[in-house]
Amino acid sequence: MKVEMPGAPQNMPWWIDPLLLTVCNLALAFAFSALLVWFIGESPPAIAAELLRGAFGSAEAVGYTLFYATNFIFTGLAVAVAYHCGLFNIGGEGQAYIGGLGLGLAALYLDFLPFPLLLLAAMLAAALFGAGWSLVPAVLQARRGSHVVITTIMFNFIAAALMNYLLVNVLIKPGSMSPETRVFADSTHLPMVHDMAAAVGLTLSASPLNLSFFIALLCCVAVWLFLWHMPWGYEVRTVGGNPRAAVYAGISPSRCIILAMCLSGGLAGLLSLNEILGSQHRLLIEFTAGYGFVGIAVALMGRSHPAGIVLAAILFGALYQGGAELAYTFERISKDIVIVIQGLVILFTGALGFMLRPPLGAACAKIFSGGGRAVA
């Protein structure tokens, strides 16, 4: 259940909470990261400069940044949708993995379809498989009260075991040593953004950024419309905010829980659209690479709002892309610094999210004491 936040003064400007507080918490996370960098004997400004250069220094870098951001938009939205129903879906990783299975099967066995149909089938398969993987935890939560956090963690591991089995024993490309399928037919590959740009006469340098970036943005709009402008979303948010009020209003909490979890799983499943159909063009082991967990940081930082999620996803996309370049320049540091930053962001914007509120609130109350509205 969403809780009311303690220490929130009543007459603060609306933007203090979502914007200023988030920025301050992020600053704390980065400050601690800098401290770590300094501790292991590198220069924080140099690392930051290198991160920025690696992420935004060239058109190609920006392409990569947005490519990673696409992944994080999908998994961030997945966490956010469940959150609005009062659920914490940690299973994005597993749902994305199984979603990839659906997408992979579609791409492997339906590649005779014309591209638009295939894209539709692949998206549907990815979303349905992802949703299906979250269905069991959802039903167990809705009907038997089994905590969705624990069951989705367990389902992450079950998904890993299942995919491991399928890729090693069933779907593996004959004669291959590494657990992965054959490369999908060329006709199934998602168009790259640089190719699309070339078609309209723009030259962009090559990057894995592909059509799914735009699909991810469409998903953001869809999630926003769903949550704030449709009766279903209204019901989901009511259940998340106060399950008893939902019962009072004739809303079925269990139906909303199942709906929200399936949407969440479906969105996580779409991750494979970018990673598999957009870039790798084959199903391979552990392609999710922890992106499901990054979604948690992204959703927390983005305050579970699609606009915030896009910004947070781009930040993390930049960190992933910039981080990948670090190891070439600095010998004492690797891209794993990004994981530390991710952990710190979750810690400060999530678990310690309220820590700065009382002092910040007090400071703002002083500044805005004249302008605040009196609320009875």
Partner: protein, 514 residues
Amino acid sequence: MCKTFGAVRANDDISLALAKGKIHGIVGENGAGKTTLMNVLYGCQRADAGEIYINGARRSLRSSAAAIRAGIGMVHQHFMLVDNFSVLENIMLGCERGMFLGANSPGPRQARAELQRLAAEYALHADPDALTGDLPVGAQQRVEMLKTLVRGAEILILDEPTGVLTPQEADDLFRILRVIRGQGKTVVLITHKLREIMAVSDRVTVMRDGRVVAVRETEDTSAGELSELMVGRAVVMEYSAAPPRDSGAALTVKNLRVRDRQRVVRVRDVNLSLRSGEILGVAGVAGNGQSELLEALAGMCKVDGGEIIFHRGGGEGDGGGQGEAAAGSSPSQLRAAGIAHVPEDRRATGMVAVENASHAAILGYHCEAQYRRGQTPRGIFFDWPFISAQTRRRMDEFDVRPPLPEIRAAQFSGGNQQKLILAREMVREPRVLLIGQPTRGVDIGAIEFIHRKILALRDQGSAILLVSVELEEILALADRIAVMFNGAVVGETPAAAADEKQLGRWMAGVRDES
């Protein structure tokens, strides 16, 4: 023994002297500051200023531990017991006498002996090995009192101790309190029920708006004087009665049975009928099945047996209109059929505190076509500008302050939250309005406003089922009164013929001889 008090946050410059070996009552309305005062005494909250003296010595009660050491024991309104502990474990918690608690360690042994001694001295019996959660409420309260006595409390504070008790259990409690007084201990009884104060206390302190407004010896005062002191003016809640109209039945309840999650019967074989243009008041001590009755009628919980019939098109003379069986209908089906419900606990049930007022204003009616884009049921999106404008109009109409639909529901005061919910449920002029505790925790100005709205709705021809634990409210509003006890309706009378003494007997579970 003497305590002096200075300014406390919700308490403004309170001085209070408690005499040893007396039962001291503290009365006041909800929000008068009684509980805050006691929390300060028990070290749960810190006073901003002021001093406390016990037996002439100044004590600073900075924590519950300090209060316990100073000989203060508290029985909270919500019991502070660990349900899956044995009674013995609950008693020992916090005064274990040593690190180790094996069967032969001094802690458990002494606690057992102590329990036996107290059982003999105070007639406070409790099986040390029983699982606390399995005990009835009265027995749990005894465990709470034993906890304080085992810790050697000399001053015993009880916060609204009878709210959850049946009248028999309450009588039992008073008997025990008198025994405790007889042992030379001081008892502080906090309550808003004057009957109890008159029955058991020696001296009464009346609080209002965080202040002590009067101290009286119980024998020199009357319930009437105390209630005037509590409210600050004579309680006049008299509204002109509507001319009785011969209208059709709106709601018939036959042999209704409701069990809760633990399969305990909460509503047993209730029969009620409600006519259009009439207010039926359901009175009773809290926890005697009224809440469950209301929720069952509103479709919020499962009905175990019996019938609920909401009659369509009442007003056509007696028994008019065809009925539709409603047992098992969902709240949304009922709303669509014109059955509105104002829940007992508005914050926990009637709204989503973190969402804004517009969200609250359409809760339960959010599927109506008027809220969709294009005002058609086919519209898949909400028309928020329309909703917001409508909410704003209704806020004006019902005097909700501030009338700003974009503010979070949590940020309105209790009275304004209630008015917001009333607006939602009343503007559709429902055939039947189910309304629970309409003025609980609402300031006095708003109470009258709410009462007038309820009466206006009745005069328009709606049938209203009013559940309230405030007998005054029932007497002021209802046309007929039913009294519930232990899940059953024990008596029913037209309001005009109601006799407060008889209602009191019914509330205590005494049926009329017939």
